[in-house]
Symmetry: C2
Subunit: 290 residues, 2 copies
């Protein structure tokens, strides 16, 4: 998915918010914003959102001389999400359709996305997700594919959200014979995306058969485009791929067969999916047959 | 109120949205956005939001060669608001406190603000405003001041919203002896702000004792800063001033004695008022005594 013009001001908002996590110095914040604007001005606007976000967040890191502006907020949201865990577990246990309920909750968890907005209400989103119809709903296909899968590739998105992912994976493991879960996290800090240390913090590493793989920025051969041969071999060799969030959708929407679970949180994604902002999505993309 | 750094990407979003009301040509949209960015880059970031918004929207008007990119959407929202009118009138008539209810509704109407966001839900906002506590509530002072006022200066904000203002003014006229209402509209198109033709369309001109005054951009002696002598004589000579919306607050918050009725819709305003985004505000500012 290529960027749209809306992404240009959005990158600047992200840069500003990221810089505020690190510094209260308004002069420095303005310097960062002006450098981001200059950089955007000099770019062709033809990349994908993750590609361009990488450039923008690199400027924040350099100017603030920190490697991870979101470090504290990531920890904070892992803790907040963990505090929701017992109640959510009970909701799932009391549910007539536990898997559907955990899928719903896993999509709600996707609201914890500082790329899309730092203004969100997790409580309200959880209430909504349990009631509102999905705008796109390939749940039956998800069930069917899970039923014949051994290897699950799960592409995670944000810290905090991964607690909701853990609940979904536990429910899947309870019912289906998945031997191996490849849990994809980012190889380097980008916005509030989860890395291995975040996933370990919430106990993903204790799930049976789980292995971490590092995708996205920071790793050799898995660029921001997630288009390396190595990564696509993993995609192909997995029996089922579940992909969380906007960033993975932006980078991978042209590939099949992937189940995308996300909330549409910005006009660009909503437009691409032909849904409204705030809609919940469970969409399977199909591989184009040659 | 001076701009904050958040305003910089927000102006770009506004320019993009405005250009899309006029043209589907993405090349032209990109040209406008790039020109806005260049202009912002070359500015000192020390003006007020209305000052800088004026420069930005001027670029859209020039590039699209239209005088009012929001012309159609303004008409549309006047019509939508008029369709709400009978139901709102009934809510007011059945209310134990009609004036408080119309004040609430007038604040809800302020959600129709394409400067803040083109994504809003009028129905949801009306439901919320009737239940939620105001974050700042100087309603008692408003009543007291209305009780001793003959001349009311009412500074309107957006098209559509003015239908809600009309309901408030009708309720005020029903109870208080206001001889003259000076209804302030914009003298030239800026975003979806109401002008005389919009106010006449919804029947503000039929209120007894009403006179229009034109403030804001486009008029001699009432610049975007609303700081001309002529305008401030009107402010001083009015017994009560009711000011709607963010733009008027941004330009006039340093002056007293004004009752500001608005929804906090962006982080900059929310921060200035020390409230949250989405909060409802009825705030009286006091004149600094020399």
């Amino acid at each position: 998915m290529k960027i749209k013009l809306d992404c240009i001001p959005c990158f600047q908002r992200q840069a500003l918010e990221a810089s505020r996590f690190v510094t209260k110095d308004i002069i420095l914040q303005e310097k960062i914003l002006r450098r981001v604007i200059k950089e955007l001005e000099n770019m062709d606007w033809t990349g994908t959102p993750p590609e361009m976000a990488h450039v923008v967040h690199q400027i924040v890191k350099e100017e603030c001389t920190v490697n991870d502006p979101y470090k504290d907020i990531k920890k904070q949201y892992n803790d907040i999400a963990l505090s929701f865990y017992p109640e959510m577990k009970e909701i799932v246990n009391n549910s007539a359709e536990p898997l559907l309920t955990t899928v719903r909750l896993a999509i709600a968890g996707n609201i914890i996305d500082f790329g899309a907005s730092s203004q969100f209400d997790l409580n309200e989103t959880i209430s909504k997700v349990l009631e509102k119809e999905f705008a796109i709903n390939d749940f039956d296909k998800l069930l069917e594919t899970l039923g014949r899968s051994n290897i699950l590739l799960y592409l995670a998105d944000n810290t905090g959200e991964i607690v909701f992912d853990k609940l979904l994976l536990e429910t899947i493991l309870n019912k289906y014979k998945i031997n191996k879960i490849l849990f994809g996290v980012k190889g380097a800090p980008i916005i509030n995306d989860a890395m291995i240390e975040d996933a370990e913090y919430v106990g993903i590493n204790k799930l049976p058969g789980v292995e971490f793989i590092k995708i996205g920025i920071g790793l050799p051969n898995t660029g921001v485009e997630r288009n390396s041969k190595e990564f696509h071999d993993i995609l192909t060799n997995s029996d089922i791929v579940i992909s969380k969030g906007q960033g993975n959708y932006e980078a991978l929407s042209k590939y099949g067969d992937i189940f995308f679970l996300l909330m549409a949180k910005c006009p660009v994604i909503a437009d691409d999916l032909n849904v409204k902002i705030g809609d919940f999505i469970l969409k399977e993309t199909k591989k184009v047959q040659n």
